[in-house]
Amino acid sequence: MRVLKILTLFLVIVVTGCAAPAKKDLSAFSSVAPRSILVVPSVNKTLDVDAPNYLLSTLTVPIAEKGFYVFPVNTAKFVLEQEGFYEGEQIHNQPPEVLAGLFGADAVLYVTINRWDAKYLVLAATVTVEFDYRLVSKDGVEFWKASQKMQYSPETTNTGSALGNLIAMAVSAAMTRAAPNYLPLTQRANQIVFVLGPNAIPDGPYRKLK
């Protein structure tokens, strides 16, 4: 019975959560009303040099699906490199007006990677990603921001024997250590920030048309 009560409560949260999300004030967003968003390479505060590229590959789809024109991220990266900008830090230090002007964008999305790591105890592993997101208008006004942290520890199924469990945990931790998979966590963080969370961005012009 207790399980059922908990489940019912959970369902209530799910249902009301969708119906009436505690939306933050998005009037700043609405007053800028961007049509197009330039996603620039991110600032990387972690030790994983691949993190910015991997993150970049996950940002287009959720934002475009919200109804905005997203500039082709790999083409934008290529153009910036032609201009001599290779590092996220260097790009984020440029005036947003200049970047937006170079591409003809209404807004620029800056993301900073704060965490992108896998930590190991003897038999357990935890994978963590954490990002700060900022949208700045072509006039240089920041009109939206969000932060998101996601964590994952592989669950191992109960094998029914202590030794079996121990081996299952060791195998799972070893596999996570060999190839920690940051992508699902990163996609989930983006989904919460742009689509599901209380601070999700409003629908863009192509979503409204539908």
């Binding site: 789809v61 475009a64 192509y206």
Partner: protein, 126 residues
């Protein structure tokens, strides 16, 4: 049996959690764009697959008269540019500009620069 029932409800809740709020419906077909881009960053040799994947996806979309998702024409164009095929690149940049007016500023600049570079190369050869 009771346990199975509880597990099923739990599964249902999880599915609702993941899909429920996001059920806005997709605007575009992406043809695996994000996964292909990720793979090409992870292993630069996979850029060949990225290019072939985008070519096939765009051809399929055009055949069905469906709108190609934002940025895909341009991304393919940039791969053509990087592999020394400026004329094919320009064609893709023009398609991006036609499909997505927001891209006009960037596409105009890319087309102009690519034409100039292609011209320089032709001069150097003659």
């Amino acid at each position: 049996m009771k346990d199975v029932g509880v597990k099923l409800v739990g599964l249902g809740v999880c599915v609702l959690l993941i899909t429920g709020c996001a059920s806005q419906g997709q605007l575009y077909k992406w043809g695996g764009y994000d996964a292909l881009l990720y793979q090409s960053y992870k292993n630069p040799e996979k850029v060949v697959e990225f290019r072939a994947g985008l070519e096939a996806h765009i051809a399929a979309m055009e055949k069905e008269n469906l709108k190609v998702a934002p940025g895909l024409y341009a991304e393919l164009g940039t791969m053509y540019l990087q592999s020394g095929e400026p004329n094919k690149a320009i064609l893709m940049y023009k398609k991006e500009r036609e499909a997505w007016p927001e891209s006009k500023g960037l596409m105009d600049a890319l087309i102009k620069n690519t034409q100039k570079r292609a011209g320089d190369n032709a001069e150097a050869k003659s």
